[in-house]
């Protein structure tokens, strides 16, 4: 995994959107030839990827929401965002 600049602002690529799947009671990412199921933490991360929040801000907000330290959540946030960049779901 590469290390992402924590000041960069991830956003969805065109043709990718967040969708609440009522049948399965969960959030998903709809993308070309792909449906990615999101658990609670993953949803909390990607719903903040709006091109305005920096990774730093997302980490801080998540730490607040899940009652953890930024150090504890930073690795998960970086890993998920990096993975979704590789899959052409997010861009910086």
């Amino acid at each position: 995994m590469s290390t992402l600049d924590s000041r960069s602002t991830p956003r969805f690529l065109p043709g990718v959107r967040l969708h609440h799947d009522q049948t399965r009671g969960q959030w998903v990412i709809l993308a070309p030839e792909r449906v990615i199921e999101l658990d609670e933490v993953a949803h909390a991360i990607v719903q903040r990827c709006n091109g305005e929040r920096s990774i730093e801000t997302i980490v801080a907000e998540l730490a607040d929401e899940f009652d953890a330290t930024p150090e504890e959540v930073s690795g998960d946030v970086q890993a998920l965002i990096d993975d979704l960049i590789g899959k052409r779901i997010l861009r910086l």
Partner: protein, 390 residues
Amino acid sequence: MNIMLAEASRALAVAPPLAVLLELTHRCPLACPYCSNPLELASQREEMDTGGWLNVIDQAATMGVLQLHFSGGEPALRKDLVELLQRARERGLYSNLITSGIGIDEAKLDRMIEAGLDHVQLSLQDATRESADHIAGYKGSFDKKLRFAGWVRERELPLTLNAVVHRHNAGNVPRMIELALALGASRLEVAHTQYYGWGLVNRAALMPSREQLDAATAVVEEARVRLRGTLVIDYVTPDYYARRPKACMGGWAQKFLNISPRGDVLPCHAAETIPGMYFDNIRERPLLDIWQHGDAFERYRGTAWMPEPCQSCPKKEVDWGGCRCQALALSGAADTLDPVCEKSPDHARIRAAAELESANAAPPPFVYRRPPRSTNSVIGSGIASLSKSV
């Protein structure tokens, strides 16, 4: 009571598919010799009307489908495509257009985007003009495709190129990757030909050699690493050189369903080749009921139907026994082993046929995919020669 409970839990266990393929029409300007449409193409007269397709979209959304693939033939030949896309968007469905790129002008593309089109998947026959036009059976198709791809990207719509690979273009995979980058595609599917239907008729004209396959695989593996985050490359390997079968359709009736132009609901593109199988029509039975309980879907779902040695095989829930249509076409019965599996008594014969065909320096000409009136006799002779050689 126990039987009822078992019945109920089995029904509940069948999760709805995430995506559904809508084959709106079999009409197509192209005539690719590996087309996934059946040999018996539906005529325009047989196609389901707009109301029928809107009903499909509504039912799909209600049962929990999330993505629709609008396909064909060439789906843009349907005059109601924009209306169907609009309904999909209204129901929250993600829409993917699987197209030849022929016959869609900029105004029509704009109307489709306005209606809610999310993604375009454009077929690519080869990376060079002359070869691509020859494979498509349509002079000028390559240039039209490139122009269409440009329009798609100018509008920031995500683009996937879908290249079917065989002996005539396997060496061009590096150029296909370059072309995908030049066109601004975000995905490239490099799919080796699947030898069912038209692909099977044309097998001797298309089968690559083992060396060609290995070279293409190496190119894709290298490019995937190099282009991470720029171009996603999906790779579908061919069966005939494998030792284990693929999990065809992700397991029969587990992840996928396909609706034919006539409204028949199929577990896969080629299922209509299996004799004695009844296909429910969407106009006669609800989609969810067909998916869960339709004869064609229940027949090979799961592992209960499997013969030995599949039943004792540790991989039976990995590959789900491979492909039923291939077992039928090559070993004569849909409920026997997929002969791609090395445990099949026919495995060596299938491998030898592939090696022999690919080594032929003068492969037979293509039997182009065209409606019956123009090719009846050709298709007939193609199948006859095939059944002798297999």
